[in-house]
């Protein structure tokens, strides 16, 4: 046997060991992540409630596409997406203000971040009382003579989604602020010093130094929040309105939950879950492409 062949054989023998070592972790990941996804995909082609194994082809998808409540729910998720730019801009502004270390900035930072560490149902139930027709918000408005602004924030089909969006922004804002602050702390001081020497004011420094330096983090935050608005708002909606009034605040997760757990129609719920998975996967791929482009161009 030649020395090269022996070396190749030794290398092939040695190559198995790392795989064996990571096999348990991979198996766990497959069990927790991959198996449910494959199972849901298969279930989406099976009969909603009858014996497993009864294939119905695309009937579940057809059922969902014909259901106005599905489109209402999807539309509400799309509406929530428009909250992402608002959230991003507000988080950026707050982060910049805090980074300037105004008086009491540590306290403000704590206040901004605290909602993010509270459980969603806690926030949601609190705001349910705040937003009631005779709740705190309206009582304050009436007390200062702004009766006309006192609305049924959660009971009006037109206002319920903006009201829920405001609660989501209130909670998710802290995450963005902390992300931006962390990145801003690593921006080189020399860039700001050089800019100030050249006469750049606060706005110019923000526009030409801070925001470009934050671009990667901003894109990350935007994509994460887009995914949140598509598939992490169930707790808000369920706690605050249950999808009402009359489906006005229904979202896709609630739709999936209802069909899976309340109506025993796993096939239909799985079909919607697959559609939602496709939508969020598109966003993830976009994020990876954007981050790939940025690393290709050498930007941080």
């Amino acid at each position: 046997m030649s020395a090269m062949t022996a070396a190749i054989r030794r290398r092939r023998h040695l190559d198995v060991t790392p795989y064996l070592l990571v096999a348990p972790a991979v198996a766990l990941i497959i069990l927790i992540y991959a198996y449910p996804i494959v199972r849901v995909f298969i279930d989406s082609f099976l009969s909603p409630t009858a014996a497993r194994g009864t294939s119905v082809g695309l009937a579940n998808y057809g059922f969902v596409i014909d259901d106005p409540v599905f489109w209402k729910s999807a539309g509400n998720n799309v509406f929530l997406l428009f909250g992402v730019p608002i959230m991003t801009v507000v988080a950026l502004v707050v982060a910049v203000i805090l980074f300037d270390q105004i008086r009491g900035w540590r306290l403000y930072r704590t206040l901004v971040f605290t909602p993010y560490i509270l459980a969603v149902p806690v926030i949601a139930v609190t705001f349910t009382y705040l937003y009631g027709y005779n709740g705190v918000v309206n009582e304050v408005l009436r007390a200062v003579g702004l009766d006309g602004l006192a609305q049924d924030w959660l009971g009006s089909p037109k206002l319920v989604m903006p009201s829920i969006l405001s609660v989501i922004i209130y909670r998710e804002l802290g995450f963005g602020v902390m992300l931006f602050l962390a990145r801003m702390a690593s921006i080189r001081e020399e860039l700001y010093e050089a800019a100030m020497i050249d006469g750049a004011g606060w706005w110019a420094r923000l526009r030409y130094i801070t925001v470009p330096q934050l671009r990667t983090v901003i894109s990350f935050f935007v994509v994460i929040e887009l995914i949140t608005m598509l598939s992490w708002v169930f707790a808000y909606v369920y706690s605050m309105t249950g999808g009402g009034p009359a489906f006005a605040s229904s979202v896709l997760e609630l739709y999936i939950w209802k069909y899976a757990f309340a109506y025993r129609a796993i096939g239909i719920a799985s079909a919607v879950a697959v559609l939602l998975l496709v939508a969020t996967s598109v966003l993830i791929v976009v994020q990876m492409l954007v981050r790939g482009d940025e690393s290709d161009t050498g930007e941080e």
């Binding site: 009858a50 059922f63 009402g244």
Partner: protein, 471 residues
Amino acid sequence: MYRSLARLGGLAVVSSLIVVACGGSTPTTAPTAAATPAAATAAAPSAAAPSAAAPTPASTEPVSLEFWYWAESDAPGANQWMTDTVAAYKAVKPNVTINVVPQGTDTLISAFQTAAASKSGPDIASQWATGPVLSFVWSDSVAPISDLVPAAEMSHWLNTNENTYNGKVWAMPQYLLGIGLAYNTELFAKAGVTPPTGDRWTWDEFIAASAKLKAAGITPFVGGDKNGYLGAWWFANIGGQQLNSVQELAQAVVGTVPFTDPKYTGWYTNLDNYVKAGYVNNDVMSLDLDQGVRLFGQGKGAMTFTSDGMLATAIKDLGAAKVGVMRPPKLGTGTLADAGNATQSISHFVTSWSAHPQDAADFLQFMHTPDRLTAWYKATGVVAADDRFDATLVTAPQLQTMAKAETTGPQVWLENWIPPQIDGDADLPAGQMIFSGSGTPADAGQLWERSAATWRSAHPDELANWQQLVK
């Protein structure tokens, strides 16, 4: 990077397909159609229990039972009563330990759906009568109570017809719940409104009284529909008054007649007019059902729909002299317009997977012992669904009126006779449409029809069973 990801992803998918192919799951058999349809007509409260198999003796070994229990929302005080009952049972049967898990109203059905899907979970569970119970019977999740409890015992239970199917009784009633129209006598007097001389108003009289109350600056009707259940109570008490039997309702459920037929959903026009006239509290969509009823106990409204337990609470809050009760106003001309609305509301049953079905049934029987029936009433003010209940305990005249209405003549709670999906996707949101002003009565009718069609499409197995009920 992408090639590595693709390799990993492919490995994950292939591995998962192998797991799925090797694992799979035991197919659940589709429920068979009933040989004998349930008693579907409006029925008298007491019904003879069908013959039951001789129950097997309970075990003497240590037994642990889990009971998913719901009643508190209907009958405040129920959870404490259950705690006391478990303690009392422990004294009688020291080898049996019962863990009671109170259930939430919004998750009552969905939580048990999960247990039913996996055939694991509680030994005893609670579900609302007829539709919800039968849907679980049809998914083989319920053991017939008539196989576990002697016929002589069951003969004392009231309203067992609500859960009778295929010749068996599947669940046990605990209490009888009726809905009355409570009124504040003080506010009535202030507005110059006179209560009816009979036991109820006509619809026109109800409207006239509401107009007088509003003119006097009093909110005529208070309630909460944020969770949709106020609309469901209106459906159950007013909505079915054009029908002659529950089979007529089932005809629409199975698709023989459309729900848009005015006899099913025409009453939404009356409700819509009532709401638009400003006779309902302006925060109705901000409050859940029980929160809205509490407004009545706070003196913030002249009338409300109320259960026995809620009425007992209102009497405590306002004082007996200020509270009156009548039957819901008469709007329709069908046979059901004159039927009572008492139901057992919640039913308790032994699950099909319980390892100790006889012990579970024994505990359910214990809940009907005279001592427990008396304690139940003292704790909740709600009449027990048992002819051994000591009616002399009901001393408040208002509660006597409710008890008499609940035990006299045929009784139908219409909401029991629709599948849970139609209840959740039509009954509840249709009422929300009207109370929030976001839809018209025609929209409400369309919603019922669409929801029924959706249910029929998604549940062909249950449709077959409901068609048997209709026959």
